[in-house]
Subunit: 151 residues, 3 copies
């Protein structure tokens, strides 16, 4: 998002007139970005995270804007994305089918820890993508200008 | 600080005319912005959020600087702003009188859900302002450069 | 990423001499910044915060990059940094020795409150640095471009 401003600035610096807006998302085709952090093994929290994703999607769709949402699960929150233990598995499946803008990142560090403790790697729901580290993922997304909420 | 870099970049580019809009914090320098996220129905958490608001206000006032603070409540945290159930109602009233820089946003999505479940919309404390979606509000504030804490 | 863009911007603008101050991340590009917020008096949460710090450090070290991490403790979370009550005292000592990039900030406001209640100021672990206000510290770090997570 900041990148876009800079690119705009770059393009514009060839000229004599530069306008920099503080909200590039709006300047640029209305794309918004949200990282949602889940690290509790708590069905209610997982459902709030999913409610948040649904509300945000609906809000921006109704405005004709776009939003990308990534739910990042780690620590005890990784259960959200485990095939065998997720209490919100069917809702994740339904929401993934309905919303292309929604993705799920599972922390590889947590997964390795669980595999070691349980003797084999737990299977994840098909919607999940494994990232090296959930907390690093949350950092990277924020470095790229994503908003962050931790329900 | 991004401001400084942007200004440095723009000055360095030799642009003859520059307009920077949309992010007062960056343009003015002595204004700070904080969004506080409340989504637990937990009196202790609500009081920590209010303590945070008081401490931040006092700190910047003592430095002769300005800070705007918005407490955004949604999900079970919306009880913080309900006339009938808020355990911190009188403290909100007192702090609002004392601190003009402090505002309270109530999530419209949560409110609609509660209205549906309870048969009528719960009344909110007079200090609350209803926003369409609490999580969207937290995104918007971050997009505008506000800091975020979730006590 | 911002670094690359900034450098691209500066190179592209043909500036002969540019000084950018205030955010080493932008100037150097391979430095990352993470603030971790601890405000629960909960050993499991404190350990997740420490796990996060260890995983993030290991990740960036393996990439040949640098990361600075500050764990900011306030409210009930201040117990993490109290000499007499911290349940993770020895782990903090060990990690501090091992990781120069890791620091611990203790909220002065919370400390004053505890001192008043207990009749004397609690002693902190030697790794902790007292800041005026934990929440202000989290704001300042975000204003300087640090990512934020609240485990």
């Amino acid at each position: 998002m900041l990148k876009n401003i800079m690119i705009a600035a770059l393009v514009a610096t060839g000229s004599l007139f530069v306008v920099v807006t503080g909200q590039p998302a709006l300047a640029e085709g209305k794309v918004h970005y949200l990282a949602i952090h889940v690290d509790d093994n708590d069905k209610a929290k997982m459902n709030i995270a999913l409610n948040n994703a649904a509300n945000v999607t609906e809000y921006y769709e109704s405005k004709g804007e776009t939003v990308k949402i990534e739910i990042v699960a780690y620590g005890p929150g990784l259960h959200m994305l485990r095939e065998d233990t997720s209490p919100v598995k069917s809702r994740i499946a339904a929401m993934s089918l309905q919303h292309e803008n929604l993705s799920f990142a599972a922390c590889g560090n947590t997964l390795n820890g669980m595999a070691k403790k349980e003797g084999k790697a737990p299977k994840l729901v098909s919607e999940a993508t494994v990232v090296t580290s959930g907390v690093v993922r949350l950092m990277e997304l924020q470095e790229e200008g994503w908003a962050y909420v931790r329900p």
